[in-house]
């Protein structure tokens, strides 16, 4: 593989790095007054990066043509699918930010740049086909994310969120590195294909420990139970646009990364990790559902909801089939739309002075004075609960279909029965919005940008979303084929 080809394959990442550095210089000289302009500049960079990776997805790039730098980096259809979701989520997190930060005079030029670098890190993560590339991408993302969590310097909760995220994230990185070193020690390579080949015959207990530690480190990143404790605190403390970012893009990146590691690198030993994934899936579904019930803060509630959703996606991973991988990607796409919708709606909940309203009790009777906003929020809730005809149902549908096709019927039955527990707190929000007497707290107006984004995501999760199933399923199938081609 010659250098030119390799460099062409990493062109989107190169473009993002160079643009990020240029924008950093613009910020250094322009100062915070340029923050809005820089935000739009970063959105433009993400958009062009999206245009650059799209052909690989539509063309179904896979195999040797998509490998760069001696198979350390893969720009295949699978990575492209994830990248498109990541860029879209990062773009949404940029668009909603200025209105939020400007109210507290905290809109600084660093915010869009940090998001851009985080997106770059995730882009590298999902393309990683080597443990070292994986780690570089993961840390690039994480370092940006720690700063983002603590972005409201004057706010104690934000600082606390940043610190917690940093300490626990560092611990998880340590666990991951330990697992990687064990894996390297017992297989003699850091390349996914090489690890896969080395595990072909069988696996000793040393390598098994490697698998366990790597998966534990990744479970932290996707906030799967039992490594989920940081999620509610960080989601609550971080500024809402950042929370929205955390709930979407890093989830996509970490889950697709986990898929690649589990299905490709550890693919030959699927029985070794399947139990772990099944446990994490069911535990996440149950803990995510039960934990959410007592929450008073809507952001904490959405944090538990994201834990719950990760559990459902892991059911697709447990299937360990191309259908399962495709189903996870479809679920991820729908999940991003639902989360963006949910958090934009939360951002739009403001009191008359523009201060955010996060207490669930303050949303009582919202439907009587903010009809459209409550309708969208209720749609997001029903959709997260997986009630048809909303589009969230389709995500669960394809995941459970994959599990049934793989013969994991008890897992599917238990998982779907546990989803009823989750439905309880989602319909509780709807009850507060629609059945209760108005508290008249969230009366503030929001700007058109939020409204447009909310309308867009509401449209995507409405029953009209089902018209997308053919296209979305086709793209996800291409991506899953690319993932399994290497296996």
């Amino acid at each position: 593989m010659d250098w030119i080809a390799s460099l062409t394959l990493v062109a989107p990442e190169t473009m993002m790095s160079v643009s990020g550095l240029i924008v950093l210089l613009v910020a250094a000289w322009g100062g915070d007054r340029q923050a809005r302009g820089i935000t739009w500049l970063c959105v433009a960079v993400l958009f062009s990066a999206g245009l650059m990776v799209a052909p690989a997805l539509c063309g179904g790039a896979m195999g040797a043509d998509a490998q760069a730098f001696q198979d350390q980096f893969r720009a295949d259809a699978f990575a492209s699918f994830a990248k498109l979701l990541i860029y879209a989520a990062a773009g949404a997190a940029l668009i909603v930010a200025p209105a939020f930060f400007e109210r507290v005079r905290a809109m600084r030029a660093e915010y869009p740049i940090l998001v851009l670098f985080a997106a770059l890190g995730m882009s590298i993560m999902v393309s990683a086909s080597d443990l070292i590339t994986l780690y570089i991408g993961l840390e690039l993302n994480s370092l940006a994310a720690y700063v983002l969590a603590a972005f409201l310097r004057s706010d104690d909760r934000s600082a606390e969120a940043g610190l917690k995220y940093f300490v626990l994230g560092a611990l998880a990185s340590g666990i991951l590195l330990f697992g990687m070193s064990l894996t390297y020690g017992f297989t003699g390579t850091t390349n996914f294909a090489g690890i896969s080949a080395a595990l072909q015959g069988g696996m000793g207990s040393g390598a098994l420990f490697g698998v366990i530690f790597v998966l534990a480190g990744l479970a932290f990143k996707i906030s799967a139970v039992p490594f989920h404790m940081w999620t509610p605190d960080v989601y609550e403390g971080a500024p809402t646009p950042v929370t929205m970012f955390f709930a979407t893009a890093p989830k996509v990146a970490a889950l697709t990364l986990t898929m690649r590691v589990a299905l490709e690198a550890f693919g030959p030993q699927e029985h070794a990790w399947r139990q772990i994934v099944i446990f994490a899936a069911l535990a996440s579904i149950v803990v995510g559902a039960l934990g959410a019930i007592g929450q008073q803060n809507i952001k904490r509630l959405l944090a538990y909801s994201s834990i719950n959703n990760v559990g459902f996606m892991l059911i697709g991973l447990a299937a360990a089939t191309p259908q399962g991988a495709s189903a996870m990607l479809v679920y991820l796409a729908i999940y991003v739309a639902m989360s963006v919708g949910g958090f934009v709606a939360v951002l739009m909940l403001k009191d008359a002075d523009g201060a955010p309203v996060e207490n669930i009790a303050d949303l009582a009777g919202l439907s009587q004075h903010r009809k459209v906003l409550s309708l969208c929020l209720a749609m997001v809730m029903f959709s997260l609960a997986g009630i048809p005809p909303l589009f969230g149902f389709w995500g669960k549908f394809v995941v459970f279909q994959a599990a049934v096709q793989a013969g994991l019927i008890p897992l599917a039955a238990i998982g779907i029965a546990a989803s009823v527990v989750g439905a309880f707190y989602y319909i509780k929000i709807v009850k507060i919005l629609y059945f209760d007497e108005p508290a008249m707290k969230a009366t503030g107006k929001s700007d058109w940008m939020h409204q447009a984004l909310l309308a867009l995501s509401a449209l995507a999760i409405s029953p009209l979303g089902y018209l997308l199933t053919v296209g979305l399923g086709g793209l996800a199938d291409k991506a899953a084929t690319a993932l399994f081609f290497a296996v």
């Binding site: 319909i427 009850k431 059945f435």
Partner: protein, 513 residues
Amino acid sequence: MENFPILSLMLGVPLIGAFICLFVEAPAARWTALIATLVEFVLGALLWANYDIGGPQWQFTEKLPLFAGFSWALGIDGIALMLIVLTVFLMPICIGASWNSIEKRVGEYMAAFLLMETLMIGVFAAQDLFLFYIMFEAGLIPMYLIIGVWGGADRIYASYKFFLYTLLGSVLMLIAMLWMVNESGTTDIPTLMAYDFAPEAQTWLWLAFFASFAVKMPMWPVHTWLPDAHVQAPTAGSVILAGVLLKMGGYGFIRFSLPMFPEASAQFAWLVFTLSMVAVVYTSLVALVQHDMKKLIAYSSVAHMAIVTVGLFAFNSQGLEGAMVVMLSHGLVSGALFLAVGVIYDRLHTREIERYGGLSINMPYYALFLMLFTMASVGLPGTSGFVGEFLSLAGIYKVSTLVTAISATGIILGAAYMLYLYRRVAFGDQKHADAAAMRDLDLREWLMMAPIAAAVLWMGIYPESFLAPMRADIAALDARLARARPEGDAHLKLGAPKPAASAEHDAAQEGAH
């Protein structure tokens, strides 16, 4: 008319109406909803008029491969036709019942009802397994809102219970459906109805479907959501809940459980019979001691639905036809009874039976209608109730005398609680001045009651109109079930023919006279 997508149109009209209702003021929303439901009624009548009895089993079919994994496939047979006609017949009446009694958030209320109508028609018209599931489940959302927003004092508990109970019942059915589609490679309901699943698999599939339909039906002991939901729901909500939503359970049995899993159905018939027998006796007795009129009718619904399940699992055409007629009749009669409760609730704002009495003196027309519906509920010959219950019991008598005997007590107990209710409400002294001062039916209430009364009598006097479209489909189902049909307990023996000589002897004797 042949290729006109009338079913899609019927799904679309209420949906468009619902959107309009969301954005207009109260009076406009009422009229929009009324017009939309009347248009639906006309379309439903056209559907019935154009349904070709004796024609192909599935008519008005449409199929568009719009989605990945399932398709927009619609089509009806006679069974679905009758249930759709029932739905479109009840809907304008529901809108009428809500005309004055709903005062807050009228637009949203009407939108929820119209959405409900789309989903109900969708359930009966869906020819794709997953399309059916989506419609079936989606109905939870509007009904949850109807109970929760416009319901009575304890509405929140009732709405949670309704939602979670029915959701838990249904999700396992989804897994069973996924397995079936994986196994058979098709989502087409008519194909699946002829597909033979392995008997061992049928057991599990049947149980998963049963979990959903038994809750929806509702069967004892998972019926407890129903009295709560009924009591708290607004009048029109109760009408649609009793009139159509409960029928989805029976429709599910007749469309899925029986034809798709005949062996498992035969295997579990004893379970259905046991639960139904308990339900008939137990819920009838519970109904007897209720103080709340709506609760009484809700419990009577459970008892009537038990007659439906008994008829369905009799595995013969009388039982199946009887079950269908009981469903249609119960849809009309219980709907009418809830309306009748609504009429006096609107005047006195209480459902306590004790607060009324002697209404036949000051509300003679009302008392007349109430008597007709009471008699229909009891199953008096000449009303729709008689036809269905008689056929169901005749069907089950071929299978088991014991089950018939116990189920038949339901009719006696039904007469007991309904007549007792009627005596306390309509006869006796006018104990309370406010109840005695209530005025009789006004024009709107006449317009709601009279059509139902006419339909009840029509179905009772000439049930052939309703049975004819379903006959071929029930015969097909009967043929499909033949291989698993349980043996009856009446071991009929042909007596030995009399010796020919004695006949000659008789003749000779006659000749001698």
